[in-house]
């Protein structure tokens, strides 16, 4: 009986957006009198950080500070349609809708600023902190707040924009399966290092080393959150979780967190990750969805590492200590002459 260490690898891809498309999202943007911008959506933040990501995309397109952006979501009386938060779609779909809406609002903003400064709007640029400046003319500028006030009270203009993103629905050919299911694909490769206790069948994940390609990291801190949290969930799926421990037998289903097993704070591995960016042609600033994918590659990487460690090949999730012990017994039996 021993504690054996092993290493396993897995590489995966993951589609962004609802399979086969047909899943629109919309955004409405308007400036307040004082040059803040309200983005109205009906999209849902499950904790993935939608409000923060959409703030950054809005600020980038309008050329204003993120602090000047307010995200108003999700009230179906006021917010325009969003298909929903799933399929790693919100950064891509809602982000694109916001780019369209913010581009329209920015045009009005610069038109008004141009009139106030008596220059053509093409000669203006935003400085990202709240001023609109004349290119190449230091000191000639107007604040976004003054431009917004002028738009409201002098020019009678609404600084606003409408945006929608739709990947048109693909209808599969049911003879061949030909179809256009995705908008883009994100990628991951994970290496798992595990230790298997051959006496108890217990598997400890020591380290998860990963590389993720996600198009563009709109917010690297939130990417990191998805990586660490998703890797944990992948490890949890690999070794612990099920509502039916003896599937397809329905007996022994857990009804609380004491019976439904997940790794706790004492069970977490060391994480190491790098991010690659290959911007997609259709994502906002090239972004792809990362939310779901992070849970996928750790599962087979851990399964392969268990085999590497002790020769137990387990094709049945979750890989419980019982299954490890049974697989070790079977391997020992098979090795007998």
């Amino acid at each position: 009986m021993a504690k054996l260490r092993g290493r396993g690898i897995a590489a995966v891809n993951y589609p962004t957006g609802m399979n086969l498309g047909g899943d629109p999202s919309q955004a409405l943007i308007h400036a307040t009198t004082t040059g803040n911008f309200v983005v109205t959506l009906s999209s849902v933040d499950l904790g993935q950080g939608l409000r923060t990501i959409m703030t950054q995309i809005t600020a980038e397109v309008l050329g204003i500070a993120p602090e000047a952006v307010m995200i108003d979501t999700a009230d179906t009386d006021t917010g325009p349609h969003c298909m929903g938060t799933f399929a790693s779609r919100t950064t891509h779909r809602v982000g694109n809708a916001i780019i369209m809406a913010a581009t329209e609002a920015r045009k009005v903003l610069l038109d008004v600023a141009g009139e106030e400064l008596e220059v053509a709007p093409e000669d203006l640029e935003t400085d990202g902190t709240g001023r609109i400046v004349v290119k190449g003319v230091p000191g000639k500028s107007i604040s976004v707040q003054d431009a917004a006030l002028a738009a409201h009270f002098k020019h009678g203009r609404t600084i606003s924009g409408r945006g929608i993103y739709l990947k048109p629905r693909s209808y599969p050919d049911f003879e061949t399966g030909a179809m256009d299911p995705d908008s883009c694909q994100a990628h991951a490769c994970t290496i798992a290092e595990v230790e298997v206790d051959t006496e108890t069948g217990d598997v400890r994940v020591l380290k998860l080393i990963s590389a993720y390609e996600i198009g563009r990291a709109i917010n690297p801190m939130m990417v990191e959150q998805q990586i660490v949290g998703g890797s944990w969930m992948g490890m949890s799926h690999a070794l612990y979780e099920t509502t039916e421990p003896y599937y397809p037998n329905r007996a022994h289903g857990p009804v609380d967190f004491l019976g439904y097993l997940m790794p706790g704070p004492a069970d977490i591995p060391e994480y190491d990750a790098v991010i690659l960016e290959r911007p997609s042609t259709n994502g906002p600033f090239g972004a792809k969805g990362i939310g779901e994918m992070t849970a996928n590659s750790p599962i087979p990487a851990i399964a392969n590492a268990i085999f590497d460690a002790c020769g137990a090949r387990i094709d049945d999730l979750p890989i419980t200590p019982e299954k490890v012990l049974r697989a070790l017994d079977a391997a020992a039996l098979a090795a007998q002459p």
Binding site: G229, G230, W232, A266, I268
Partner: protein
Amino acid sequence: MKSSYVSFTLNGEEKELLIEPGRRLVDVLREQCGATGTKNGCGQGSCGACTVHIDGVAMLSCLLPAELVDGSEIVTIEGVVRNRVLHVLQEAFLAQAATQCGFCTAGMIMAAKALLDCDPSPSRQAVIEALSGNVCRCTGYEPIIAAVLAAAATLAKRPAAAAAA
């Protein structure tokens, strides 16, 4: 059985409430006191989202009949901010990006604060043990552990008087 009056202090404020027999403390806090920062995640004592302090001890408010807290001093997440200043743990949760959906956060902070209140410089193992009754489904725990350790490190740098505040 009839409803009865129960008195306690909640975040330093005196309360006297008419409470139905068997009513859970978590419901009293949320529905009768407006302290909705305390969450009900399972109602069975298995997730820790409802953790509050009763006389300085972290307890699960979903398992406590409210009659039992008569005369106690209760602190919830709303009472962790003092004079509109965040507690070092709250600052550390921000700095370490230790929240995602946020639903477990109040319970996590209350569990961690109970630890730091009696052991201001805990080991990583002690932090893990203090958090082991609290479920988080988003973060993978590592940022939360890091936040508690970072808060402890901040406390260690402070003069004793400030740390006690």
